[in-house]
């Protein structure tokens, strides 16, 4: 079966972000960008399914500006067979991305779609669930284990109280949690080979999807700064401060 994997270009997770002076958004000029960490895990899982002989082809897809092709090339270097770039400079929200991915699912008919559970920029945690709803496929979100077994997939999910295992009929949508796997690094020869792998460029209009959403971003602010605290010299002083100054004991 084909496995479709969705990747997003986001600010590198180590970068300390800056809010623009006019509070319109976060400043992304000259900032290091990378593949969203949860998407890396999704790519790794798809490639492992191919190595196990479960997947026959891995297709990476990304929605975003032209520069998102860098992240698709990364996915190709990690083992994806081909890529689809849906190019848009608009701020594509989860619903629009899910609609676009639903069109790709309709066209490619994958047996499994793997996405990250959330992007570390918008922190929405929505796209996989929305894609499942739009395609009418079952979902296994926050997966820490994925086991394909015939026409079913068993997904172990990280839930608030611990772990839950569910069985889904294929085709299905899976979103990855951090503990699903440890992504590999792309080797130089694979990065070179990735440059020759096919990468189709499409637009939202090709799929007849409107990217604009009814949610508008009015303002972005820095959170309230915490005041720098004090260092105490001993356990006694700490307990005294917590009892008499902070009054939390």
């Amino acid at each position: 079966m084909k496995v479709l994997v969705a990747v997003k270009r986001v600010i590198d997770y180590n970068v300390k972000i800056r809010v623009k002076a006019d509070h319109s958004d976060v400043d992304l000029t000259n900032v290091k960008m990378a593949m969203n960490p949860f998407c890396e895990i999704a790519v790794e899982e798809a490639v492992r399914l191919k190595e196990k002989g479960v997947a026959t082809e891995v297709i990476a897809v990304s929605v975003g500006p032209k520069a998102a092709q860098e992240q698709l090339r990364t996915a190709l270097a990690l083992g994806a067979d081909r890529a689809i770039h849906i190019e848009t400079d608009e701020r594509a929200e989860s619903l629009a991305v899910a609609k676009l991915l639903a069109k790709v699912v309709e066209e490619e008919q994958p047996g499994l779609v793997v996405l990250g559970k959330q992007a570390i920029d918008t922190d929405n945690n929505q796209t996989g669930q929305m894609l499942a709803a739009l395609t009418g496929l079952p979902q296994g979100t926050f997966a820490s284990e994925v086991a394909v077994d015939g026409d079913k997939v068993n997904v172990t999910r990280e839930i608030d109280g611990g772990l839950q295992t569910i069985a889904l009929t294929l085709p299905a949508i899976v979103t990855t949690d951090l503990r699903l796997n440890e992504p590999r690094y792309a080797k130089l020869p694979d990065i070179m080979k990735a440059k020759k792998k096919p990468l189709d460029v499409k637009t939202p209009a090709d799929y007849g999807v409107e990217v604009a959403s009814k949610v508008s971003l009015l303002k972005v602010e820095s959170p309230a700064e915490r005041k720098g605290g004090v260092k105490v010299a001993s356990v006694d002083e700490l307990i005294d401060k917590l009892k008499n100054e902070a009054k939390v004991l």
């Binding site: 997770y13 300390k16 972000i17 809010v19 976060v26 929200e93 989860s94 619903l95 570390i120 920029d121 918008t122 922190d123 945690n125 929505q126 669930q129 929305m130 499942a132 709803a133 739009l134 979902q139 296994g140 979100t141 926050f142 999910r157 839930i159 608030d160 109280g161 611990g162 772990l163 839950q164 295992t165 569910i166 069985a167 889904l168 009929t169 949690d177 503990r179 009814k214 949610v215 508008s216 009015l218 303002k219 972005v220 602010e221 820095s222 959170p223 915490r226 720098g228 605290g229 004090v230 260092k231 105490v232 356990v235 700490l238 307990i239 401060k241 917590l242 902070a246 939390v248 004991l249």
Partner: protein
Amino acid sequence: MSILVLADLHEGQLAGATAHVVAAAQAIGGDIDVLVAGEGVQAAAEAAAKLDGVSKVRVADNAVYAHQLAEPMGALLVELADGYTHVLASASTTGKNVLPRLAALKDVSQLSDVIAVDSADTFKRPIYAGNAIATVKSDDALKVITVRSTGFDAVGTSGSATIEAVDTVVENSQSSFVKEELAQSDRPELGGAKVVISGGRGMGNGENFKLLDGIADKLGAAIGASRAAVDAGFVPNDMQVGQTGKIVAPDLYIAVGISGAIQHLAGMKDSKVIVAINKDDEAPIFQVADYGLVGDLFEILPELESKL
């Protein structure tokens, strides 16, 4: 305005987060109904009826809703959402799993992890691991929202809402429950605890986490962990505090052997008082800690336990 709140359940009982979501619904204003869906949830429905501000509790008690699987829950919500202007759920793993399905099926956006209500259509939510706060306005006819429970104080329990049964039963042949492995603990739930003590990579191994037990017992605290401690296999992942784990905002947060990476701070920096115990006096955690103690945690923890 008419608001439907999806009740959060934990092992069939009403979870504490629901009272926080009702508080968010009150901030929006309007009639508030609570939907309790699951199997054998009469007690949870009665608990929900006591929440202040709730006018009606709707109970969908059927085997198809057991374990609140996303597919039947999404289908049920789509059936019930008509007539409501807002559907809210807590940003728990269940709320996050189910609500985006409703949003997509109704062709509307979802607002995730809302921490403040500016008006019935304008909300604040953290982005970039809590390093920025976005104010967003939704012009969708139906607003689908998950609520970060630490952003709202729980409502009281002196209410007496009416309880009515929902007969809607949906089909689900796509997903089935296999098993659950829940971590057993006598301590308060991490998300709602007044005091949290967390260990990081500095704890060295899982065995050393026992050093936190005595202190947690004395303070009535929940025990958390950093991602480093979870990834190193010291403790199970449901103890993780951070952007990808639980978000907590207790009165007192004690970070032991935790450096204070952005990912971890996203999960705890709204705590009232933060204490850091770390041997590295340059650790970033000291920049957010109200009280910092530089030293060896293996000496400090036993001393702290004996003196509390």
